[in-house]
Amino acid sequence: MASNRGDGSGIRICCSAHPDAALIEDYRAGDQICSECGLVVGDRVIDVGSEWRTFSNEKANADPSRVGGSENALLNGTDLSTMIGPGTGSASFDEHGVAKYQNRRTMSSSDRALVNAFKEISNMADRINLPRTIVDRANNLFKQVHDGKNLKGRSNDAIASACLYISCRQEGVPRTFKEICAVSKISKKEIGRCFKLILKALETSVDIITTADFMSRFCSNLGLPTMVQRAASHIARKAVELDIVPGRSPISVAAAAIYMASQASDEKSKKTQKEIGDIAGVADVTIRQSYKLMYPRAAELFPEDFRFTTPIEQLPQL
């Protein structure tokens, strides 16, 4: 039998035999069942599930059991306002063809900058095909920076670009500043400045870039076979270990290693310095400089099992 426990905090239904047992709710019948003995204690419990059935094979754009878009609550705070959409049908236009209800009320003006920045980050990431995890991380960083308010004077686009750069780095797949520049309208100098400011503001640091981070991307953009890519990675790693190229940016060393590896391979994988420079974003004289440093010790740099279509002696010597 059901019995009430009035303990001041409201009346709770429980099983008379087991007052402490949890009650299991059965929606279909509207019952509450004691978990110990199976006694039905509640009845006519109102079902709060949805009123219609949604079939999974129907490609509905909107799930009818949801109202409004998914909540970006972590980043926006409570955003429960409603936007009035553009009118459809003839009733929404008055006699001159001008839409009634023009004023789509701007919602959450305080977070307008945030929403814009997120959209910008998403656009930029889309252009270079970055996965969703990087975009989310960049959004989080932007939110933290925005709340900290010490970079308030800087353009939001610059902060957004720098956040995207940092998030790529933190995920272990760094993009060069030039690659971020290519999808953003901010100059490399400004992105670099914002990058340093953000690191100071959030008191984090990032790992230093290595040649290996960029090998797979550059090589696949150039269409080089895996053998060449592996050789180039080995060359670059060896060059940095032996410290043949002190003070050279890892991008330049990687580009020069790719050049060396591709020149040692067969005809159709030979790439010119200009092509490699285009992909990597380094000038071809830069590749030449690093290549000149690496050329004297080429024999040590190549992996042991590399098959030389063009032997080392015939490597170009610019």
């Binding site: 670099g192 990058f195 870039i209 002190p246 003070g247 940016s249 380094v282 000038a283 004289v285 400089q289």
Partner: protein
């Protein structure tokens, strides 16, 4: 490696025989006020360090085995002061013979006719004069020279029609010093060890930026062993170098004879460049002010037309 720092001796630049000095010092001979100052006063404190008059500071570090001597060269001292009177820049620009009023070059500031630049031949300095009477003077190679330049500027402005001008609020804002270690430095492991204080971004700048809180200074460490120090006073420059020496010594790398040859070649060409610029006049202003021992990557900055950092 045990190293005892025996304090510093400020001299007028006797360089060690086994060490090539960092750059030519044209003003070394004509400065009359160089004297020995044996005291090592207040390393971290600018106010106590009243008397740093040597242009080249030598540090003698005594080790059990040998005595590496490191030359610190002061390249630039920036000072600011006020003449305590509102100035009519147009009149100064028209009447002064060494005054320049370039409208576009410095962007917004000049076009609002707020600032005028005056160059002195000796000491070779440039002063930016604002209409409020505040003046910033750059290009001097020692604190002493900076004071002398400030006095000369005040004098020459007062000759242009302001009879009673006084020099007030003189203070040295920034001192830039450079030095070279006798060894090359492996900056990648160095930056990995000092991750919290040092910042190394090879894409942005070829050197490690090391910011010290005490003594307050910013050091830029390059893989060739050159170190650039920017600090609020000359004593800080010295103590910063002393502070960084053991840290950098740990990551040293011996120089091969070919490296030494290329270094001497670039030094000779750079010295020639500076002499030429002082012959032809005031065009190479930027070079004289910031002679940064940017290394091979400087060539890279010219190569790659987009990297301007």
């Amino acid at each position: 490696m045990a190293m005892t720092l025996q304090g510093s001796v400020l001299t007028n630049g006797n360089t060690a025989t086994n060490f090539v000095p960092l750059k030519l010092e044209p003003n070394n001979k004509d400065s009359p006020e160089v004297f020995l100052n044996e005291a090592s006063n207040g390393f971290g404190d600018c106010e106590k360090n009243g008397l740093n008059n040597g242009e080249i500071i030598e540090e003698v570090k005594e080790t059990p085995s040998d005595e590496p001597v490191i030359d610190i060269t002061i390249n630039n001292v920036v000072c600011s002061f006020s003449v305590k009177s509102h100035l009519n820049l147009k009149q100064i620009a028209q009447n002064g013979y060494n005054v320049e009023y370039r409208r576009e070059k410095w962007g917004k500031i000049h076009s609002q006719s707020q600032m005028v630049t005056m160059r002195l031949r000796k000491p070779y300095t440039t002063a930016s004069i604002w209409s409020s009477g505040k003046v910033t003077c750059t290009g001097a190679t020692s604190e002493d020279e900076a004071k002398q330049a400030a006095r000369r500027i005040t004098r020459s402005v007062s000759k242009l029609g302001y009879p009673k001008l006084r020099l007030v609020n003189y203070r040295v804002v920034n001192v830039l010093g450079t030095c070279t270690m006798p060894f090359a430095i492996k900056i990648t492991p160095f930056s990995a060890k000092h991750r919290d204080i040092a910042s190394y971004e090879p894409e942005l700048h070829p050197g490690v930026t090391y910011r010290l809180k005490e003594p307050k200074a910013t050091l830029k460490i390059f893989s060739t062993g050159s170190i650039t120090v920017t600090a609020p006073c000359v004593g800080n420059v010295q103590s910063a170098i002393e502070h960084i020496y053991p840290l950098v010594f740990e990551f040293r790398k011996e120089r091969s004879p070919e490296d030494i040859r290329t270094m001497q070649a670039t030094k000779r060409s750079r010295g020639f460049k500076r002499k030429c610029s002082s012959d032809f006049g005031f065009e190479a202003d930027e070079e004289c002010i910031t002679i940064d021992d940017g290394e091979e990557e400087e060539a890279e900055d010219f190569d790659s037309d987009q990297s301007h950092d």
